[in-house]
């Protein structure tokens, strides 16, 4: 309390001084006003008392003059002329306007004769009343007012005019002028009025309009009836008096004094402001001085107080500013937003400036309306209802987790909005702190995700074990079971064959399962690396065609490979992995497409600006069973297999697509799937490859061929061939059926512009390729190579085709390099090459040989086999034996080296080398063989036969100098193909070498 009093005492003191000053001023003002009024009225009375006395003297003088003249006038001896002269003299001296002789009947006569029309009736009446001298107001015929002073006279005659009274008159204007007072700035009015208020005289310049001033006061002033009655009474009694009244907007002082004749009064009307003007001036000056003194005293008293307060205020303000600045700096450098709210006033008292940095809302906008923060809120209202706020206990707090979006950057961040209910200086305030909890939130989310992932992984592991347990046990069960049955039914060849077939199938399935699992394991462990090398895209496609075409054919499916645009023939990439990816997709397409379905494999080059890279799109489209939308989400996850009546009949590990996806990812590409149940699926893979320098075969082709004809019912194929041949300079003509092809070939031949090569599609409507070739041969002979371009296995019709005149076969899609490889021998020696081709096959034809063809390749061959495992060695020996081949066994690498170096050229057609062997492993042995001095050291085919099946193993084998890699367990199909390829290659090299030598 004392503290408060001390704090406010200057203000209290100021109020006391002010109140005292006002009180003193009011008392003094009242005193002065009263004094001034009294002095003013005294002044007024004094002035108009003087006027009244002058007027009374004026009246009495006139009456006195008239009485004094009577003796002269009444003299009998006075002549008219003498009288007239006398009066004229007096008139000039005294200034009256006229002298009258008055008859008893009211008629008048002036010294210069009768005056008709002058009405002196009121004068006559007054005189008749016997009141002695009279003063009467009269009007002249011209309307001008005059005041007549008359006295009774002894009856006499002026000339013949008998008179009973004499009178002088003054114009009212003259009298008024004599009554005028110079005081009061000429703003005073003076009236001579009768006691009833009727106006006799007025001092107003230019006349008067007041007929009865009492009536005017009654109607126009603010006087009450009682006051008016008093005035009327005073006037009737001839009492002097003074009153104030307001007429219109003007306050008047009105003084009335009897003039001493009958009931006439002198009425002085002066504006109050004029009466007190001088005194008011003094009063104003006095008041002004007093006010100034008070002000000065006040200032002197208050100045030190004010200075001290100001100093304190400035200090407080500086402290406040310092604190605010410090707080602003702090809040600007932290990620917490501070807000102080006055809920009652709906006002933001404070908002930290970092709100703009953190939320993108200007500080001022929030200050003006807290609701602007709503637009930052994600998904919900950030402004907490008042009722909910009021639930927070005093000095308590609540918090909410909110997600806000930055208004400028769009960045979302999590904040904890903590609301504190405070009482600050008896005012209820809410302090809001928005703390950035984004990292916490992210950590929480990550932990949740990690937990979920761990759970999922655990689940996956359990699923994996469960799946593996099931998937491994199933074929193993068959193998074990049928092995037992084999022993039991060894005497029954049919059963033995049946059991061994089933054991083989189960073994293959088990093998593929193990391969997939191992692949998956390797990929997931991050140990998979890419084996980047230059490879031929046409060869890759051809290999795929060779593998997939039989599978498709087995299910009566159509399988087409299409190329869109101009593809590079050589690319650098991991051929093995790409092959694996595409085989997976194509195998699945075959697997999950019903019999008779269609599978289309499309390769296209996407437009790339770079000349160093090319992006290829591989698309596998089928019209098979398709996938549900739900399954598409998991199709690339391990062990994902859609459960349906169809898929359940298809064998699979559920790892193929996961491996494919991982491989595509590893190669930096993308894989996508579009599918509809019952309509089929489309898998698209996009991968980038480095472009190596391409082989320039175009010029060579251009040297051999000038014109070429292609016939294919698919115009796109014709256009693609034409586009690809563009750089060769060959004029490519195309037709879309066999008949046109015949006509075109014959016509060109007859014009002497025959084609140097004719390319025919096998399966065309109307004339097929073979028939077309036959017709062309019939017409133009044998000198033009005719090739069949097909995506089908031509082995069935090869004999017929060659009989019809087909020179060679080419697999679709068309590639320039393949084309060159095909036609080059044909042009070297057409006839001889034809014979040779029939014997050894051209590149493409040889690749397709199988069945009996392989038997021929293997038969009679002698192999060097390096195998430390006795059992495996025995199996291999038996298998080779079954193929009609023989072998020598080495139990380790060193022995194999020794045996090879000791052999004569031709003793061994090929070396089959295990990798992991005691003494010397296969890699080292190969290197030693290659570096040995044996004549065939460099050329002898060496193939790895190993259980190490990863790409690294393949690469290591190749790096060591081997020519191929065969995975254990031995798949005779693969062995046949590999050996066939290598032997054909060796034969070709030998042929070329021989040719070169010759």
């Amino acid at each position: 309390m004392k503290e408060k009093l001390r704090k406010f005492w200057p203000a209290v003191l100021l109020c006391v001084i002010g109140a005292a000053a006002v009180l003193i001023g009011a008392v003094y003002f009242e005193f002065i006003s009263q004094k001034i009024y009294e002095d003013s009225t005294d002044h007024l009375e004094e002035i108009y008392g003087q006027v009244n006395r002058s007027f009374t003297a004026f009246m009495e003088r006139n009456w006195g003059l008239l009485e004094s003249w009577e003796s002269l006038l009444s003299k009998e001896e006075s002549e008219e002329g003498e009288i007239a002269d006398f009066i004229a003299g007096e008139q000039e001296y005294w200034g009256f306007s006229e002298f009258y002789f008055l008859a008893g009947d009211g008629s008048v006569m002036t010294p210069d004769g009768l005056r008709d029309g002058v009405d002196m009736e009121e004068v006559r009446a007054a005189l008749a009343a016997g009141e002695g001298p009279v003063m009467v107001g009269e009007s002249l015929p011209d309307g001008k007012g005059v005041t007549v002073f008359a006295v009774p006279a002894q009856p006499g005659k002026y000339g013949n005019f008998a008179y009973e009274a004499v009178a002088v008159s003054y114009t009212n204007e003259d009298i008024a002028n004599s009554l005028k007072v110079d005081a009061f700035s000429g703003k005073s009015k003076c009236f001579v009025i009768h006691s009833d208020g009727s106006v006799l005289l007025s001092t107003q310049t230019g006349g008067s309009v007041f007929g009865n001033y009492l009536s005017y006061l009654t109607a126009a002033s603010n006087l009450e009836e009682e006051e008016l009655a008093g005035i009327r009474k005073d006037w009737e009694s001839g009492t002097t008096g003074l009153f104030q009244c307001k007429i219109g907007d003007v306050n008047y002082c009105i003084l009335y004094q009897p003039v001493g004749y009958q009931g006439y009064m002198l009425l002085s009307v002066v504006p109050q402001s004029v009466v007190s003007a001088g005194f008011l001036s003094v009063q104003k000056t006095t008041m002004l001085v007093l006010v100034v003194i008070f002000l000065l005293v006040g200032i002197l008293v208050l100045m030190p107080i004010l200075l001290r307060n100001r100093k304190q205020y400035r200090r407080s303000r500086m402290e406040l500013q310092y604190r605010e600045s410090m707080f602003d700096v702090l809040s600007n450098n932290v990620d917490d937003i501070f807000i102080m709210l006055d809920i009652e006033e709906q006002r933001v008292d404070y908002i930290s400036p970092n709100v703009e940095r953190l939320l993108g809302i200007p500080q001022q906008e929030v200050k003006e309306n807290i609701r602007v923060m709503e637009k930052c809120a994600v998904n919900y209202n950030v402004v907490i209802p008042k009722a909910e706020l009021e639930e927070i206990p005093l000095n308590g707090s609540r918090y909410w987790e909110c997600e806000y979006m930055h208004q400028n950057t769009g960045e979302r961040r999590w904040y904890r909005m903590t609301m504190y209910h405070m009482n600050i200086q008896d005012l209820t305030k809410y302090i809001v702190v928005l703390s950035d909890r984004t990292q916490d939130q992210q950590m929480t989310t990550q932990l949740q995700e990690a937990l979920a992932a761990a759970k999922s992984a655990n689940e996956a592991k359990s699923n994996f074990l469960s799946n593996m347990s099931h998937d491994i046990r199933t074929p193993m069960n068959a193998i074990v079971g049928f092995s037992m049955l084999l022993e039991k039914d060894a005497e029954h060849p049919d059963k033995v064959r049946e059991y061994t077939r089933k054991i083989t199938a189960s073994s293959h399935h088990l093998l593929s399962l193990i391969n997939d699992v191992l692949d998956m394991s390797k990929i997931e462990s991050g140990k998979t690396s890419l084996n980047v090398e230059r490879f031929s895209l046409p060869v890759l496609l051809e290999e795929l065609s060779i593998i997939i075409t039989p599978q498709a054919k087995a299910k009566f499916q159509t399988f087409k490979i299409q190329v869109h645009g101009v593809l590079p023939e050589q690319v650098v990439g991991d051929k093995l992995r790409l092959n694996q990816i595409l085989l997976n997709l194509l195998s699945n397409a075959v697997k999950y497409t019903q019999e008779g379905g269609d599978i289309l494999f499309t390769v296209s080059a996407l437009i790339e600006d770079s000349q160093q890279y090319v992006k290829l799109r591989f698309e596998v489209r089928d019209n098979g069973i398709g996938m549900s939308e739900e399954f598409q989400k998991h199709v690339f996850m391990p062990f994902s297999r859609e459960v349906s009546s169809v898929t359940n009949k298809v064998q699979g590990t559920g790892l193929g697509m996961a491996i494919t996806k991982n491989l595509v990812d590893l190669m930096g590409g993308i894989i996508q799937v579009e599918s509809k149940p019952g309509e089929g699926s489309t898998f698209t893979v996009e991968l980038s490859f480095v472009l190596p320098e391409q082989e320039k075969v175009e010029a060579l082709i251009g040297q051999k061929i000038a014109r070429m004809l292609i016939a294919d019912d698919e115009e796109d194929v014709c256009m693609a061939v034409k586009a690809m041949m563009h750089d060769t300079g060959v004029d490519v003509f195309y037709v879309t059926n066999g008949e046109d092809a015949v006509r075109a070939a014959v016509s060109a031949e007859r014009r002497g512009e025959g084609f140097q090569v004719i390319l025919l599609d096998w399966k065309m409507p109307g004339l097929n390729g073979v028939e077309t070739a036959r017709r062309i041969r019939e017409e133009i002979g044998e000198h033009v190579p005719i090739l069949v371009l097909t995506s089908h296995d031509w082995s069935e019709i090869e004999d017929e085709a060659r009989a019809a005149g087909i020179s060679a076969f080419m697999s679709k899609p068309f590639f320039v390099s393949t084309f060159w490889q095909t036609i080059k021998p044909l042009f070297a020696d057409l006839t001889a090459q034809q014979a040779k081709t029939q014997q050894t096959g051209d590149g493409s034809g040889a690749l397709t040989e199988n069945g009996a063809g392989e038997m021929r390749v293997m038969e009679g061959r002698h192999f060097l086999v390096a195998e430390d495992n006795e059992l495996n060695a025995e199996i291999l020996t038996e298998m080779l034996d079954l193929e009609g081949a023989s072998c020598d066994l080495a139990v380790n690498g060193a022995e194999a080296v020794e045996m090879f170096t000791a052999s004569a050229p031709g003793d061994y057609d090929m070396i089959l080398m295990d990798v992991q062997m005691p003494v010397m492993n296969g890699y080292e042995a190969t290197r030693r063989i290659r570096s040995s001095g044996h004549p065939l050291a460099a050329r002898i085919p060496i193939v790895a036969m190993t259980a190490n099946t990863f790409a690294e193993d393949v690469r290591n084998a190749l790096d060591a100098g081997m020519d191929g890699h065969l995975a254990k367990p031995i798949d005779m199909e693969a062995v046949r193909k590999m050996i066939g390829d290598l032997l054909n290659r060796t034969a070709s090299e030998n042929t070329q070498e021989e040719g070169a030598q010759s």
Binding site: G206, Y216, G248
Partner: protein
Amino acid sequence: MRKRCLGILLAFVALLSLTACGTGETAGRVTLTITGKKSDLEKSYMTSIFEQYEEATGNRLEIIAYEDEEFEECAAEDFANGKGPDVLMHFHNADLSRFDVARYFYYLNGESWVEELTEGARSYCQDREGNLLGLPFWENSVSGCYYNKTILDSLGLKPASTQAEFDMLCQALTEAGYTPICWPGDGCSWMVQFGLDPVFADDSRLLEELNENEIGYAEIPQVTDMVQWLADAAGSGWFGEDYLKVGWSDISPALGSGEAVMTFIWDTWFYTDFEPGQTYGREDFAVMPIFMNTAEEGTYEGGNLNMMMVNKDSENLEAALDFLEFCAKPEHYNEAFAGISTVNCFKNQTTNIQSQMVLDARSSIQERERVSVVASKVVGYNAEDMVRALEELFRGKTDVAGCVRLMDQYRLEETDRYGTDGF
């Protein structure tokens, strides 16, 4: 499209008219054409005199009545095309400048009936050279300051006899809470000429110099005095607060209710427009001179009269002059104006009703009445232009001198409009 309201053919001469084709003399009888405003020609005293004439002479009158708003233009066009009527009825106002008066009209100075006219009426019908242009045959009136004598009596106030007294009266009335003067600021077109009449009636030299474009209003101090007085009066609240919104129709309620005490109007207005039955009736009013600071003892304005002018080129010139003589005979005009409230136009006019207000102020009127000279004799004078200039003053858009300059400017524009010689 001019509307030609043909003829008020009087029934009793219909038979005679059947034998007459167009204008002119037929079988000793004449058909005279008279053109005028439709509303003017329909006045009862006009139809009465027409009837009397046709009945007495057997001649026929073909009345060509134009709609009021088209009258000036159509009549001027008729004269310009040589198709002027025998007799034209026209208020002798500024619009007469549309006509080539000297060329078209017969000067009537030598007619026998001229002496029968009152001084004011004759003076009104004369041109600037003193030629009598027409026979005034219209309601005459006295314009003055008509005041509520009942209110003045109750206030103990007297009517003013000088400009100073008038100012005192206004001040006293203001202080007593009344609006002294009802000044219809929204179209007080007739009032300005009241103030200007004494200026030009008392000093014909000024009128001549003004009409010869030797001086303008700005060179006439009285005009400035009048405008200054109007400004002071308005500033002193003598016109009330909303006088700029007060129009013609507001005068009667203002006076009848006692809200306003005085206005500048004519006596017949109390019989034609003042609505009886209000707080104050016609009998509460009296007339005193108009004070607009241009005549110390005030002024009254004589009537603005419609006059019958004779076409100098009329084929029936003699008959037309006879028609005017017929109208100017006491027995004829007294019959026509019987019971009509009007001040005398003719000295022997006896059957008309003269207002008590005028009769009471007879001697004052006789001393102070001026002929209405401004509207008819000031070249280029247009009452509406004066109102426009004053409105600029009252609205504070210009000062007194500026207002006078505007009056001059508008007047010159008016003369330009009609191509007045000498301007």
